[in-house]
Amino acid sequence: MFASCADPSTLEGLSWLLCYLTSGKHILFYISIGTVLTLLVITAPAALAFGFGGAMAARSQFAPLRWIGKAYTSMVRGVPDIIFFLFVPIALDQLFEFIRHKAKCPDWDQPIWQGSDFVVCPAAKLPLSTSEQWVHETYGFFMAVLAFAIVFGAFAANVIYGAMNAVPRAQMETAEAYGMSHRQAFRRILVPQMWVYALPGLSNLWMILIKATPLLFVLGVRDIVYWARELGGSKTSAYEYPHPDWRLYYFLALLAFYLIMTSLSERVLRRISARLSKGQATMAGEQQRKAAA
């Protein structure tokens, strides 16, 4: 990065460390922090959407939809996360490629499964093998987002389902008495009030999601844990910056990163909770009213 870093073997002490910490590999490490944050920013709303959909399906009066909603939440919640993370990206990837294969290469005469090989025509590959490396990486990243959204969506669905049931029945009866339709009452009364009941559960999920991001590494996305392990391992003189086993220091940095992330979120979640309790007929809402009066 700096001109003085051209030959690291001549450097010593602080200038060596400075060059070491700004090497190309370290820059990738710093960028991977962005990868983790991006994952969180995309996955949280996606999982919430899955959760909301799942909860609505589970409450539906149309039986098949209800079965789908219930099956989704109970199945995903019953399988260990890591198995799901190993299964979803491979299965979805092969499913997508299989569909594209059927659509794009109807003339293909070879079998798709040849022994243990999964072979589709080149045009059906996803992403195409001719595409740039970053396309492959982005595709892998979005498979990871999808896996996270499906798993955390199932947990969120259960939380939201419970929160919807926790809204006092009297509120809905009043809405009906005012002549609102079922849909209107759902949108105007139930949804705005359920968040305050859902928040404790959802904030738990958010914390777990932050701590689950190292699973990215299982999915082949190079996240901060991958880089910490790779950079920390002892390096011989095949590398420009040889050093002994420094994994301890790198893992210590990870520890600090995750603690900062969780303590920041706790602060934000406390604020959201206060905002949501405003004017609600709950204990927190009542306390706010008394304090203001």
């Binding site: 690291p8 090497s23 190309g24 590999k25 820059i27 990738l28 491979i90 990837d93 092969q94 490629e97 003339d107 070879q110 040849q114 022994g115 243990s116 090989d117 999964f118 072979v119 589709v120 080149p122 045009a123 590959k125 093998s129 001719t130 490396q133 492959h136 082949g220 392990r229 790779e230 391992g233 002892s234 011989t236 003189s237 095949a238 590398y239 420009e240 910056y241 040889p242 086993d245 994994r247």
Partner: protein, 240 residues
């Protein structure tokens, strides 16, 4: 007429693809000097240089991909990349699942490294990387096998005393021993395992295998492979 058109279109399509075919080379990136991620964050090492040269000779556009050692074969057969070029020894067990080109690295010795000269390599705890021929050998030798996902961790295990010794390719261990200021040392005898290192390909990919086989043979014939071997493994390394 319609069939003719489809055939022509298919031909045009495959011809276009053949011209722009990109071969994705899968490696581990954690096994110096065979392959490692250098300080710029790029794949480097003996296999990087070899792979680039092979692709040039076979007139292929190649792209490097890294993958965990554990899942390197499953990801090859499911088509995430097209070859494995990761210091993988040719063994019968692997040959049942994937195909190998001829070896580009002669059958080499594996060795034990320990902190003490009298380390118990026959009955003690020996560290090796998961799913390697060395791990298989340790399991059969009577010693307790301690497996790790990366080669680096096997050496760390010896240093913090979790294992009595580590068993791995001698060429991988050599720099660690030389640069440890006498802390680490080779113990026991060297053992010959496997049929050398080759490139792994899907069994359904005979055409690509042929191309790489020809290129490797050409490099053996004109001596460029030996020059590369000397450059990365030193002058005493076995040559072709």
């Amino acid at each position: 007429m319609k069939k003719l058109l489809i055939a022509a279109a298919a031909l045009a399509l495959t011809a276009g693809l053949a011209g722009a075919q990109t071969v994705r080379l899968g490696t581990e990136g954690a096994y110096p000097p065979f392959n490692f991620i250098n300080d710029k964050g790029e794949v480097d090492g003996f296999e990087r240089e070899l792979g680039d040269e092979l692709c040039k000779r076979a007139e292929l556009t190649c792209e490097w991909v890294t993958n965990e050692w554990d899942s390197i074969i499953p990801n090859l057969v499911s088509g995430n990349y097209d070859t494995i070029i990761a210091g993988m020894s040719i063994t019968e067990e692997r040959d049942k699942v994937i195909d190998f080109t001829q070896n580009y690295y002669p059958p080499a010795s594996s060795a034990y490294v320990a902190l003490k000269a009298d380390a118990d390599i026959k009955g003690g705890v020996v560290a090796a990387q998961t799913a390697t021929i060395q791990a298989g050998h340790v399991a059969e030798s009577g010693a307790t096998l301690l497996e790790y996902p990366t080669p680096d961790e096997t050496i760390a295990a010896v240093r913090n005393g979790e294992a009595d010794a580590v068993f791995a390719d001698k060429d991988y261990l050599k720099p660690f021993v030389e640069e440890s200021n006498g802390e680490l040392m080779f113990v026991g005898e060297e053992i010959q395992l496997g049929g050398g290192v080759g490139m792994g390909l899907r069994e359904s990919d005979a055409e690509l295998k042929g191309k790489f086989d020809t290129a490797i043979q050409a490099m053996k014939d004109d001596g460029t492979l030996n020059t590369l071997l000397k450059k990365w493994f030193g002058d005493e390394t076995p040559l072709f």
